[in-house]
Assembly symmetry: C2
Homo-oligomer: 350 residues x 2
């Protein structure tokens, strides 16, 4: 299947409208660019207001978390899933403030959530692939069958969200240790060594940073030339949650639904989606600059530049949710500002 890019004719019409607004040429800066992109994605000028924005948080544990790559223990993953369910996490607060709907899914958390009521537990775990993904420096993250299942789970979730009216999709992440497989996926996708892609995650010190770099180096060596293939990259170096995120982003692109990317996990999966189907990234915009170096490298490869740079390193999709009002600003400008041709009187700049 070949991905269709956003409509070039509509993009040109949107750029014409932008140029015809009663504002100095170029005065809308990046908001003008984003408005034109939204219009092209929607196939409509002016673009429709983004009233239905949806975040899906893909949660999972990572075997590497047992090997000194994170500042936190794996048990935090499940605790944070419960915090999302209770609406009390960072991204919950942001989503409530900006009218973004949140759904959290357990793809690979290393626990059973037996304490949850059955309905909540079923909604949370219905797409679960396995308990924890493999420690990538020692073993594959996923089997081939698990990789396919996770990709398809993510795609199914995207279809559900789009069927519910999503106009803009966001992916969020939760999983202690997840910057390690995500950085490895970026290294694989860009052909870079571990030393260039490894960052401090939620805040590790120098010793843990060395350990993390060594883990990624070993993982890349173990994967060998399987990194030439993006799906084998997910199996060798990814995880259930990251493979599902990749499937979700890929399905968004296939169905022509724009996506606002978040931090490293989101962008590593976007890079992988674009490797699977080149052109997928034409449906993506970048919400927030991560402090993780691999995110910036992957964004540069995808030709994307983040809208915000607020030093957030919360994960969860929070950077993208914080950027939703910026995209709404862009849409409002292209919709609501007067055209030069509509203004009359002595001050008509035409």
């Amino acid at each position: 299947m070949t991905i269709q890019t956003p409509d070039a004719d509509v993009r040109a019409q949107a750029a014409d409208r932008l140029a015809a607004l009663a504002t100095p040429p170029g005065a809308l800066g990046r908001l003008g660019d984003i408005a034109v992109w939204v219009a092209a994605c929607q196939g409509e000028v002016p673009p429709r207001p983004l009233d239905n924005v949806r975040l899906v948080i893909f949660a999972g544990d990572h075997g590497v978390a047992q090997h000194g790559v994170s500042a936190f223990p794996s048990a935090i993953t499940g605790a944070m899933v419960r915090t999302f369910l209770g609406g009390r996490a960072g991204v919950s607060a942001l989503a409530k403030a900006h009218g973004v709907q949140v759904r959290v899914l357990d793809l690979g958390v290393d626990e059973e959530f037996a304490d949850l009521d059955p309905k909540t537990r079923e909604a949370l775990t219905s797409h679960k692939v396995r308990r924890g993904s493999g420690a990538i420096h020692l073993e594959d993250a996923l089997t081939a069958a698990e990789t396919s299942a996770a990709l398809e789970a993510g795609a199914a979730v995207a279809r559900e969200e789009i069927a519910s009216g999503a106009q803009l999709l966001i992916s969020g992440d939760m999983g202690i240790g997840n910057t390690t497989p995500a950085a490895a996926m970026v290294a694989a996708g860009l052909g870079l060594p571990a030393s260039e892609v490894t960052g401090r995650g939620t805040g590790i010190g120098d010793d843990a940073l060395r350990t993390k770099t060594n883990v990624i180096t070993a993982a890349l060596a173990r994967a060998g030339d399987r990194t030439d293939d993006p799906i084998q990259t997910l199996a060798a170096l990814g995880s259930a949650d990251l493979a599902a995120t990749t499937g979700y982003l890929l399905e968004a692109a296939r169905s022509g639904t724009p996506v606002l990317l978040d931090g490293l996990m989101s962008v590593a999966c976007a890079l992988t989606a674009d490797r699977i189907e080149p052109g997928a990234a034409s449906w993506y915009a970048a919400g927030h600059r991560s402090t993780e170096p691999a995110q910036s490298m992957a964004l540069e490869k995808l030709g994307l530049s983040p809208l915000l740079d607020l030093d957030l390193r919360l994960g969860e999709g929070s950077g993208a949710v914080a950027a939703v009002p910026v995209v709404r600003s862009a849409v409002a400008l292209l919709r609501d500002v007067a055209l030069l041709s509509e203004l009359g009187g002595p001050g008509d700049p035409a």
Copy 2:
């Protein structure tokens, strides 16, 4: 009168709450800092939601616009005022999208607005100081009496907005040629030559940039050591709209109401307000990075760093209005995120 800074005890309480949230240390980045500042300004932890945000656009013409410093003729000022009144300008679209109330005031536009209905005209012009301000390379912008009147008009407007419930104030600008007096005010405040502060405004070419630099050089030479005094700086180098903006920002600080600054005009006036009453800037945050070099220089002097950098060069208060949701994100995080102490179970990171 001495300005009180935001409450240090409340600031400390807010910082304690930030540190106690169930998020990794420092993970909220700049949003954490802004949330603490809002709480300190409000004197309340957690801070209240910012439901009542108000923009006042101070409009005026500038004699220098007749001398080749702008890409547009002065008649645009009045045309844009009408566009604000009709709710069709760039900032109108942004304000509508983000629930910000907009008021436009003619402080020194070089026309009578005789075509407007009497009630609208009265509301627009009731604080008018004069028609056009002086061409600052040739004459003072304002007399001493006009300077006082404009400062007091701005203060009165701030009091009115605060009495109407404003929790956060924004100043916007409209006036062809206004980056010339604003840059001159920054040069005066920072002791810099014209060559360092002069920018391209709405998009002038190299020839006009040389002309504009020469105008500012001549204005600074003409003002001489009167630039040592901030109020005399307004008279010599400012304008009715910029003096009123300064009075508005000063009154906000005096009354303890936080302000989100916009581009060069807003920041030049904030710098001047802080020169008049040192400490005023403790009530200000910076919304958007301007492409005008003088804005960055003045912000650095005030110790402020903008929340957004979207290459906007629209003026009107648009950069600050676009940044309002960022401040709301900050408040939502400090209000709504769970405290570590509230979370139980096996994942409690405490």
